[in-house]
Every structure is written in structure tokens, then in C-alpha cells.
Amino acid sequence: MSDTFTMDSPQPRLLDQTGQGVIGTPMNRPDGPRKVSGQACYTADAVTEGVAHGVLVRSTISRGRVTGMDLASVMSIDGVIDVITDPRMIRNPAQGMAGEAPVQPGDAVHYHGQPIALVVAESFEAARDAAQRLTVHYETEEASVTPEGTSASETDDPETAGDFDAAWQAAEVKVDLNFTTPSQAAAAMEPHAAIAEWKDNSVTVHSSLQMIRFNKKELADTLGIDPSQVRILAPFVGGGFGSKLGLGPEAVAAAIASQRLGRPVRVVMTRQNVFDCVLRRSETAQRVRLGATQDGRITAISHDDTVSNLDGEGFSEPVSQASQFLYGADGLSFTQTVARIAATPAGSVRAPGEAVGMLGLEAAMDELAERLGMDPVELRLKNLPDKHPMDGREYSTRRLADCLREGAENFGWAQRGAAGMRREGDWMIGMGMASAARSSMLVKSASRVRLTGDRAVVETDMTDIGTGTYAILAQITAEMLGLSPERVEVRLGDSDLPGASGSGGSFGANSAGSSTFLAARKIRRRIADLLGCAEDDLTLQGGRARGLNRDMALADLVQEELEAEATIKAGKTAESHFSSGFGAHFAEVAVNEWTGEVRVRRMLSVMSMGRILNEKTARSQALGGMIWGIGAALTEEMQNDQRDGHVVTRDLANYHVPSHADVPGDMQVLFLEERDDWANPIQTKGIGELGISGAGAAVLNAIAHATGHRVYDFPALPDRVIAAMEVEI
């Protein structure tokens, strides 16, 4: 039985009262030994007897209709079983938390690279060969494939607070800057994959997905069956970063093919499929206007943007999200335009909004500081608002000022000096900084905890996409029940288990962590009953229960299994208080005078993100985000052909994610202690996305400091750096 706890009031810090002492510690991941030995079972590894292999066929037009396929052109290939088209197939992955079928286009083609059929064969080689050879006939239509070229766009009413126009007019010092960022790919190392098998009237699908509770509904709705007929398994997910939030075409195709052929079918996207049809991060065009008084008080903030997406997709990259709550002003205004284009649809990629919006905002802040003749750290410290500037909510906790000061101190910011002055041979050296901010959420989530003796099991359909869920749920449960974490088994990624928030939006630990905490808390109460004491008098530690002069081993006390399920959801605290992680990024770069090459020499990020549940996995998440920032600043750029929109950079040799050589060894993370009582009963904030938010801007600002020149079109590729250096100032 699961009753629901609603987060209506600040919660006491029980995890600071318990005595086991494992919460927050840098415990190794319990799933680590399996991962380093190749024993962790990812989707494509779960091969069963008699499996057939499917390869998706992509459209090679940008808009129109499939009028026919020459099946004879491939059915003669040895091993080919079937070429499947089906009205239930989907155009693209579901958006995060959709919970319903994505667009099912039938024979319509809406973008170049759209999956239009599945070839199934006895071998992968035969299926791949046939998918490439299949002759498809189309009726083509005209289509706009670039935001600049389309006439179909929607502009929202501005979101405002105060009077921006008046504040802008009156501002003594102004910057009015335009920035662009390209489309980016999540590019998780594990390609999207599914293995489907039907038994009776139910389908079991292994698929690499982040949000099982939603994905189950999406698949049921797509296939036109009841959710009770669907089971989804994702015990290990090889990275997601948003790209696996929603059910994908490979899972639907595998399910349909398996039903039709009466045998298990595996569909693994080729890396090229992944670039073609998995949701990308939209390109952005941003205009940032900041106005201030002579002494550096910001009076006007405006951040307008244009992003793109395909028709029928509700998502639009929330570019100005952080600009709306990071700094205060007398007048603020934010306007978004969504251009409708016939290209790979856009969706959530790690820190949608902040990841690219903060590149513009924080680069503009840097330039404003320059105009004011102020230190960039000082400018930020001077402009921290008392309340959320747009809606007046209180900040739950915000240690941004501490992060800025600690960061400056630890990084050696005082040695920065004037722009363009430090050289080492052909290399110009510079330092840059930026604020970090990423709003934090609580999403409805359920967990079950079972305890027999001194062994506990946690069960939830939550996923671990590398984030450390296996570790932190074991730690929370161990802490609450006074157990060594090795005595806690965590079962994840199975839709038969209680439905969690899933992994996304940095809310996984907040949400699934809290529901696990609440379920474990119920078990604590039951233990107190067994021991005959009040919960407040109970101490659970080292596998023993103590209270009111009794002291018993759990192994003796809990002879019959105790089971409890709990659900949490957001409530009134989310309306009264705004929760966000905050931090400060600092970077030092070297820019080659002749080649324009940029090398990041060191980075430091100081972050306050609520209670840290596991210092080790939290640090990994933070570092990962910072390195994504390096990628966004320097190398990552998805390019589409300007004629038909097809993805040109559709493999890892052409889409440049950071590699070892792009990342210095000197990457430091400092966490500042914090408890967010308004956020959830475990006092956490999201971690997975704060690291990227603003990180790239610190690198870009360091380039400006090194060279005395700014790049406005990101990433700062060598040719753009050289062009910037040739601009007379």
C-alpha cells in the first residue's frame, strides 16, 4: 500500500540524526565491480535464443510521403526475413514525461533521417545490408530546413517583470549582444537499443530508457494495448543525458516486429541512426541586453531567443530560464520564438535552457563587467536579488555569494590581471569565470523497501544512467535502517516495480531518493513497534535496534519481512520557495596566437547543491557537467545540410565530444555544505545538470581575457577565434 506524502512544509533533517554514518560518504558504487568487468547487462547484451536482428531504414527526403518500397530489391538477400512498415511506428522519440504515443506519421515523412521501416534478418549483417539497399519511392514536398529560411514560426508574448523598456532607456551602461549556439547531440556512448519479446498477449521490452513509468504508458499507447500488457526493463543504461527520456522508434519497431514474427527481435540504432532521429538540442540565436548604473547595479535584463523544432513537438529549449532568476533588475523581459523546420526534432539534452542560455547570459555579464571596469566576480556579487525576480518566491537556500568568493580565492583569481597581457611563447593565457545555476525539482515518485533480519531490498522503476542511483538509494536505506550498505540490495529499471520519477531534469535523486527515504521511514516505525518504543527513541545502527533499554539485533527482531511503499509529490513549498543549485565556475585557457587553438589548462567549480548523498558520485556528476561545458565552448557542433536538413555530422568522428586530450587533469570541484529543507525530506537539490550550467561560459570568458577579443558564435572553433582576433577594437 502506498500513501502519498505531499511536500507542503519544510522537513526536519532526519538524515542528520541517524547514526549509521553512510549518508554523504564517498562510497564506491555497488554496481562498480560489474561495470568494470563487463558483467553489467545493457539492453543489447540481453540477447535471447532465436533473436532476429532489426535495422531501421531512414528517409532520404526532408518532407513528403513514402509511395512505395521495392521489397524485391532486398528480400532476395540471404537471411532477410521481413521489411516492416506499420501505422503504429513513431516518427521520433517521445518528449520527456509525455506518457503518450509520439507522432505516428503513417507514410508521411517529416524530416530527413526519419525512421520509415524496419528490416529484420537472421543476422545483423544481412539486416544492415538490406536497410542500406532498400529502394524507397517518395512523393516530395517543399520544406524549410533552417530557422532563417522558414516562414513558420511562433513568437510567445514576452515574460516580464517591472518595466524593461524604461529601465533600458535609463541605463547608464549597456551591452546589447547577439550570440548563436549550434544544435548539439547528447551522444550517449550506448546507442539507443531495444529487444522485444511477446508472450501470450504481453510484451517485454528491454530498452535503454530513463523514465520507465512514463515509457510504459508511451509504449502501451503507441501499440494500442493496455499498460498492464507492457513490461519495460532497463537495469543498466549506457548514458542518457535526456536523449533516452522518451520511448524511441527502435523500441516500437522491435515490439511490432516481434509480434509479427513471433520471436524476439533486437533493434540497435546505428550511431548514424542516433544522430539522425534522436532528439537533438536546438540551435539558438540569442540577444542579451543588460543595462546598469555606473557603479554596477544591474537595472535592465532582457534575453530573447529563437530556437527550432519540428511541427507537433511541444518542447522548446527554455534558453532564458536562468536569466529569469539569477540576477535582479528593475525591468526584465524575455521573448522566445520557435521556428518550425523540417529537421531532426529537438528535445531535452542535459540542462535544457541553462546549458546554452547561460553561455549567452554569462558572456554578456563578462562584457558588462569589462565596460564597467569592474571585476566579473564583483559584478555578480553586487547583483544577487533577494527574491525570485520574476515571481517573488523566496530562494529556499542560495549560497551563490559563498561559491563566488570561495572560487575566486581557491582559483587564484586575484592574479588574473588585465586582458591580453599574459603570454607563454605562442600561447596567450587567460582566466574566466561564470555563475552556475540550475533549478531543482521534485517529481512524483514511489519506492518500496523490504526488510528481513538485517537485509533490505529497495525496489523502484527508477533508473541509474550513470548518475549513481544504485549507490545513493543503498546509502539512504542503510542510513535509515542502521545497516551497512552491503546489506541493501537495490533493484531498478523494471516497470513491474513502483513507479519513480525516472532520471531527468536533475530530479532523480530528489524524488526517488525521497520516496525511498519515506518507505524506509515507515519500516523504522514498524521496527519501533516491534521493539516497543516510540520512533523518536529508536536508534538503528550497525544492524542493531536500540530504544527504551532494549537492544536487539535486527536479525533477531525482524524475523518476518517488513514491507513498506511510499510516494512523494511536490506541494506548497514549490509555490512558496524556489529551489536551485548554485555555483561558480573558473577556467584558465591557453589560446594559440597563430592557430586559434584553445586548450583548457585547469578548471575549478564551487557548488552548493543541497545535501550531498554520495560525495564520490556527486563529484563525478559535477565533473561530467563541467566537461560538457568544455565541449559546448570549444568543439560540439551539429551541422545540417542547408538544402535538405540532413545531419552532416552524424558520427563521433564528425560530432566532436570532448576526448581525454581535451580535458586537463586539473579539474577541481568543491562542494559547500547545504540543506534545502523546503525541497524534500532529504534536503537535496539536483546535481546532474548544475555542472554544465555556466561552465562553457567560464571557458569562453577566459578566451576573451586571454586574447582581448570575443567570440559570439559558439563553439569557439579555431577559425572563429582567429577571426575574432582580427577584429579591430
Binding site: R29, V36, G38, Q39, A44, T270, G466, H660, M667
Partner: protein, 167 residues
Amino acid sequence: MKTTLTVNGTQHEVGHDPRRTLLDTLRDDLGLTGTKKGCDHGQCGACTVLLNGERVNSCLCLTAMHDGDEITTIEGIGAPERLSALQRAFVERDGFQCGYCTPGQIMSATAMLKEIAEGSPSYVSDDLDAPKLSDGEMAERMSGNLCRCSAYPLIREAIAMAAEVKE
């Protein structure tokens, strides 16, 4: 067609499609799924194995070309209950997150340590005759192994830690 391979010390005769890659043979014919497919084009390194002691991208190897060869996969390095020093260091230093690229990183690092020990220089070596294991050397030599979770600094800490244990 048929090819004989010795994998982790065990000889196998596999029947296969001529187009079969060593990666797919290992994964789908021999059930050694620890070796991962990330790109199938030699761009990510997730499929790294040792071929007669040298690291290779197994997705770029056709099975048919390796008759009689000796292959070592992650399964041949160490199981969960008896991990190698390098595997233990990866766990200790959190040199991974999602874990998908990890077998490739570990296979690549295993060979890289041997390459440095044998005095094989890289593009960044200060001393071409006797390269030393530095962070810069590791960054250069491990750049064929992508990690999108971006555990890079921790991967290199883990490798350095394991190298110290060995010395």
C-alpha cells in the same frame, strides 16, 4: 565461413558471415558482451580488445582476418569477485559513470601501460626513448576512448593509481 580464435585462453571455432566483425563475433557468437558497441566505426573505443597483446578496435577487425589469433577481452581481465588492480582502481576512483565505455577504457589502459613500459613514445613524450607515465601522456594515449559521462580526469587518476600499485 569458419575461423579459429583463442579468446581469453580458450580456443573457439566460429562459423560466421564473411562480413562479421570481431566485435559481433565476441558479443553475439561467443556471448562475451562485456565488449561494447558504441559506434561500429572505430571512433569511440568502446570495443577495444587486445589482439595478440596489442589494443585494437574490434569493430574494425573482420573476424575472417584473425584465424589463429589470440584475443583478450574484459572478461579475461577480471570478474567482479577477482578484479585486476586497474579494475579495482576504476571502482575506487569512480573512473566511470554509466559504465558503457568502461571495458574499452580498461582494455586500452591495460595495453597503454605496457606500451609506456616498453618505451614506446607518443606525440607528447618529452623523451622519445623513455616516455614517462604522466597525466599528459595518458590523456594523449587514451584519446581513442571516448567517455560521454566525461569521467576523464578520474579515469586517469585510476590508471595512475593502478600503475603505482604495480610498481
